[in-house]
Amino acid sequence: MTTDTLRTLLTVLVFPGGLFAMALGLALKGVERRAIARLQRRVGPPLIQPFYDLIKLMRKRTLIPDTANAFVFLAVPVAGLASMAVAASMIPIPGFYEPSTGLGNLIVLFYLISIPAVSLMLAGSASGSPYGAIGFSREMAIVLAYEGPILLSLVAVALHAGAVTGQPILLSLTEIVRYQQEHGAFLFDPWMWPALLTYLCFIPANLGIAPFDIPEAESEVLEGPLVEYSGPPLGLMKLMSVTKSVVVLGLGIALFFPNGPAGLAGLFIFLAKCLVLVLAVSVLKAAVGRMRIDQAVLFYLKWPELLGFAGLALVIARF
């Protein structure tokens, strides 16, 4: 019991959750900024720029608006970051790491992933700024729009994995990964492509990447929920969002293409996959403008939703 608990704590705090996920997220952010700069024919910042930013922010004063709810204002970044660190430890790295039991399954992970959005909303609301509140309202609208498709995608995968292993549904991520390790990745199964596409659609909205960076639009609502943040809380907010990118990309890899060799090589393969995804995200970010919130919501209610239902229907029809 104690060694088990200790192991869980270690995975949550150091690897692959906690510090490792945060460091990986910051590094991926650096790669993203550099890649975008290169796409725009600029030199761009150094690769470890996000680390500098994070350390720099520690040196700044913490401004708390007089009309803000100071406790909520300061607590939500911590809560969001903690949920992401735990979520990161729940994602298996095939051949290298299996999450410990006790933290839960795919549904728990799904709920954890939605916590940063709640943090962001509470942050915008608690800051007392009208821009923050508009950011909150927009974030909720887009969350309502993308949660449907992502759920459909997750359930489609779980049902498929369940059907092939002779269960009604397989909600354990570890099992899903193990099945794919043995029988080939879902990425190469055309029946799973609608679910895969749905998941890909979900990534930019969840990570707040163009064209769905509407809640934090600089030119409209001055970075929305983040407008009143400064110093360390701002640093934690940024840390939360980069850790979230690790979780979301990692979950995508685990669900659709976890295959990799055993041992340390497995870890490197996992990192390489993350890198590829981040580069794809950078290209998207550099190639499009921002949508209007109603356009974005409508988009999600149309295409990814349809795709999601199609994916689910395919899986149900197949078995």
Partner: protein, 248 residues
């Protein structure tokens, strides 16, 4: 049930203090009624099923049962519905407790102890059951054995029954532990807290209370899309847009 009761009591507190029944007249109460707000936030988040709070465990069991039983659509709609709960809770939290103080709210004070005590009691019970589901499950298991049914799997410190292997205690410990990373970042920085005001581009012409987003202003986009889908005309037709419609 503990949570719903707590929420009812919160609403009662506000009602007793303000004697109003429109959310739009409230705002910024969090600073006036911190305990009520804390209770509300806990109960609300729990009801919306934010792990590791109490409400999540029971939701998880329902979802799993639905999926295991092959009722996918039921499970999916249950999952989505908790999202709508969240939206409602956050809307209330924003309009009543956060943002700028409204004229009405600025005269309000924290509810008396008589009203706070039951709420805190409920929250305490909810936390206990949330952390140690065994507290309720073990007696239930005993009851079931007594009735000759197959008992649920439960132990005093164990997790929830079912395939999830979700243990709220482990989750709580994990979240608190990782929360320490954030807390350490705050501590190590030693950053001084400075009271400031909200950024309004330097202008001071608009009174703060006018800048509070009222309840009806939140989530306007989904609402608009629903109206659009139902082919419902906007309530107020602007003459300007009408003239445009003729011109184009």
């Amino acid at each position: 049930m503990l949570l719903k009761n707590a929420l009812f009591l919160v609403a009662g507190c506000i009602l007793a203090q303000a004697h109003i029944n429109s959310l739009d007249e409230l705002g910024g109460l969090g600073r006036k009624m911190p305990v009520t707000f804390a209770v509300f936030l806990f109960a609300g988040m729990s009801l919306a099923g934010i792990p590791p709070l109490n409400g999540f465990g029971s939701k998880l069991m329902i979802y799993e049962a639905a999926f295991e039983g092959g009722h996918y659509m039921l499970g999916l709609s249950a999952l989505m519905s908790s999202l709508f709960t969240l939206a409602a809770i956050l809307k209330f939290a924003h309009t009543a407790f956060m943002g700028q103080l409204s004229e009405r709210a600025s005269k309000m004070t924290e509810a008396p102890m008589v009203m706070l005590a039951p709420m805190l009691l409920l929250v305490g019970a909810s936390i206990a059951v949330g952390l140690f589901p065994g507290l309720l499950l073990v007696p239930i298991a005993h009851l079931q054995t007594g009735l000759g049914l197959e008992p649920v799997q439960a132990s005093w410190l164990g997790g929830l029954p079912g395939v999830s292997s979700y243990n709220p205690l482990v989750m709580t410990v994990a979240l608190v532990a990782t929360g320490l990373i954030g807390w350490l970042y705050y501590r190590l920085s030693g950053s001084r807290h400075v009271t400031s005001y909200i950024h309004t581009g330097g202008g001071v012409m608009i009174p703060n209370a006018r800048m509070h987003l009222p309840a009806s202003a939140l989530y306007e986009t989904p609402e608009r899309l629903i109206r659009l889908a139902l082919r419902d005309k906007p309530q107020v037709q602007d003459p300007q847009t009408e003239s445009h419609a003729h011109d184009h």
